[in-house]
């Protein structure tokens, strides 16, 4: 009897000591993290909440206090005849661009990842070269491609002309069927290296013994890729998909700004560009914020699809139930 109370007391004493220790550590840790948190609260969290409140206001630039109008901005975006068609068009352009960009970036970078995973003379040169599109700021690359696509003196036109593919120079960026794909090509060029390094790191974690076993079993290259490489690469591939989708929804903005300004017509007016126009050309801050919230929701839906539906463990758990 006595020994148990003693034990209890000891346990209590010990836990209260640990408790105190834990509280001290917590206080100390928060002190160290505080500056980072301050930056994020002031420059990200607060503006984010402000943005949400703007979305429910009839806020125009020069009108200091917006009137609360509930969901009117959202209703306008989805139903009003002057707003909705443009919005749906932007949504479509954005989704087509995102899908095409993510697919192209993943496929090309997977190919390059296989290449830079091999060791051969010159592989160092390829790796350094791959760093260049990554390092070049987005706007500089936009300027670069803008000059390449130039309708009067561009090198792409010159090249196609010399090879006899076209009879006369074409205005690539003013053609409503070509403009988006020109932006897409320039975008993919800049984004490929990033994924290539990520996927190459993923490939290098697959043990070579697995491949040796496949070779022993006389498995075809095709079969080895789909039965061994792809499943083992899935976690990294998933991460690459998430990151590339988030990037593709946003980072084409500079290219659109420099190369087309959303045109011709509405052919390259993506959602970020529409938000920018609504907010800063027409200074309809309320509606612009509402559109920005819709864009954020689209992003969250994509992330959810990738992380939950494509996650092999969750899928197994769900099928098991």
């Amino acid at each position: 009897m006595e020994s148990t109370t003693l034990d209890k007391r000891r346990v209590l004493k010990k836990s209260s000591y640990e408790d105190k220790r834990f509280k001290q550590t917590t206080a100390f840790a928060y002190k160290m993290i505080l500056p980072s948190v301050l930056f994020i609260v002031v420059f990200i969290a607060f503006p984010m909440f402000y943005s949400v409140s703007l979305a429910f206001q009839d806020f125009k630039y020069g009108v200091p206090t917006g009137e609360f109008i509930g969901l009117q901005n959202f209703i306008d975006i989805f139903t009003k005849s002057t707003v909705a068609p443009g919005f749906y068009n932007s949504l479509q352009v954005t989704l087509i661009f995102t899908l095409a960009a993510v697919v192209a970036v993943i496929l090309i970078s997977l190919g390059i990842a296989f290449l830079i995973n091999e060791s051969f003379p010159g592989s160092g040169l390829i790796k350094v070269s791959l760093l260049l599109p990554y390092a070049i700021p987005g706007i500089a690359s936009a300027v670069m491609w803008n000059w390449i696509y130039d309708a009067s003196f561009g090198v792409l036109n010159g090249l196609l002309f010399k090879m006899g593919i076209i009879d006369s120079y074409i205005a690539i960026l003013s053609d409503k069927n070509l403009a988006l794909w020109a932006i897409w090509f320039a975008y993919v060029w800049k984004m490929v290296p990033y994924s290539a390094f990520l996927l190459s790191a993923g490939l290098s974690t697959i043990p070579s013994s697995v491949y040796e076993a496949a070779l022993m079993d006389r498995s075809s290259t095709f079969r080895t890729f789909f039965k061994i490489t792809l499943p083992l690469l899935l976690p990294v591939l998933q991460l690459a998909l998430v990151v590339q989708t988030i990037f593709a929804l946003l980072l084409h903005f500079g290219l659109v700004f420099v190369m087309t300004g959303g045109g011709p017509g509405e052919a390259t007016r993506t959602l970020p560009w529409l938000i920018y126009q609504e907010s800063f050309t027409y200074t309809r801050f309320g509606r612009g914020s509402a559109m920005a919230i819709i864009l954020s929701l689209i992003m969250i839906i994509f992330i959810y699809i990738y992380l939950v539906l494509l996650n092999p463990e969750r899928r197994k758990a769900r099928d098991g139930q």
């Binding site: 509280k23 420059f43 503006p47 984010m48 290449l115 700021p137 390094f197 991460l239 800063f280």
Partner: protein
Amino acid sequence: MFTNTISGRLALRKLVIFISSVLVLFYVLSPIYWIIVSSFQKEAALNFRPPLFFPNTETFTLDHYSFLFTGVVPADSTVMLQAQYTMSGTLVYPSIINSLIIALAVTVINILVGFPAGHVFSRYRFLGDQKLFAVLVSTRLLPSISIIVPMFILMQKYKLIDTKIGLIGIYSAITIPFTIWILSSYFKNLPVEYEEAARMDGCSYLNSLVKVVFPIARPGIVAAGIFAFMTAYGEFIFATVLTRTLASKTQTAVLANLASGITVSRGMISAASVLAIIPPVLLAIIFRKQIIDGLSSKLGAS
């Protein structure tokens, strides 16, 4: 079939590697080649159809660069070109300096603020640690366009429009989550014994960070610093909305304005973009190992 013999397989492998290497190098380098070549060509030569694919000495000129640095318009240019030159070209060099100042300040803030935070997350368990970490890091996924409107209103309210300080604050907030992420995962792979020994010997926490952790964690800190630098140097959306004059205009804002104008000296704008890409490209080449490690560490930079 020759692929059935071992030497045949090896030869095929070599061939495939060679061909794909050439293709990749062409894909990656040819656009960069073209902007560099264009920046050294006389304006008249840039108007050839089809263009000169390979430069020659006759059309070579340094005029575009000398203009960007000195503001002296090339003597042989037409009146219209002269007007274009003087209108906007003189902003390029100062705006690159602005971008460098802003990016360096952001890098320093990132390391000062993110280093202790990343360390605490990697070494201690405390109340709400994992939740706080998740919240902090997930702010990185936030689309910057979704806070551009409130940021514009707030910056105007606090008189921070067209100031470097405003941009430095925003860029720091955007980059700090990633710095914390990359540093905390780097610290997790470092041995804890050195720090413990230093603390035993009566070294204060901050002192042990500076004297013990910093030297052994240098590669990780360099990587985090470079990612912060590159993000801040290349950011565009905030820069174009929140800047007006050379007090804060960054190279991204100036280049975008130059290029989206319809008529501009193409040689000059090529030279301007070449100048603008030199700082990050040099960093990438010098610190290629750290950057490739950072990009490969499943963390998600940019």
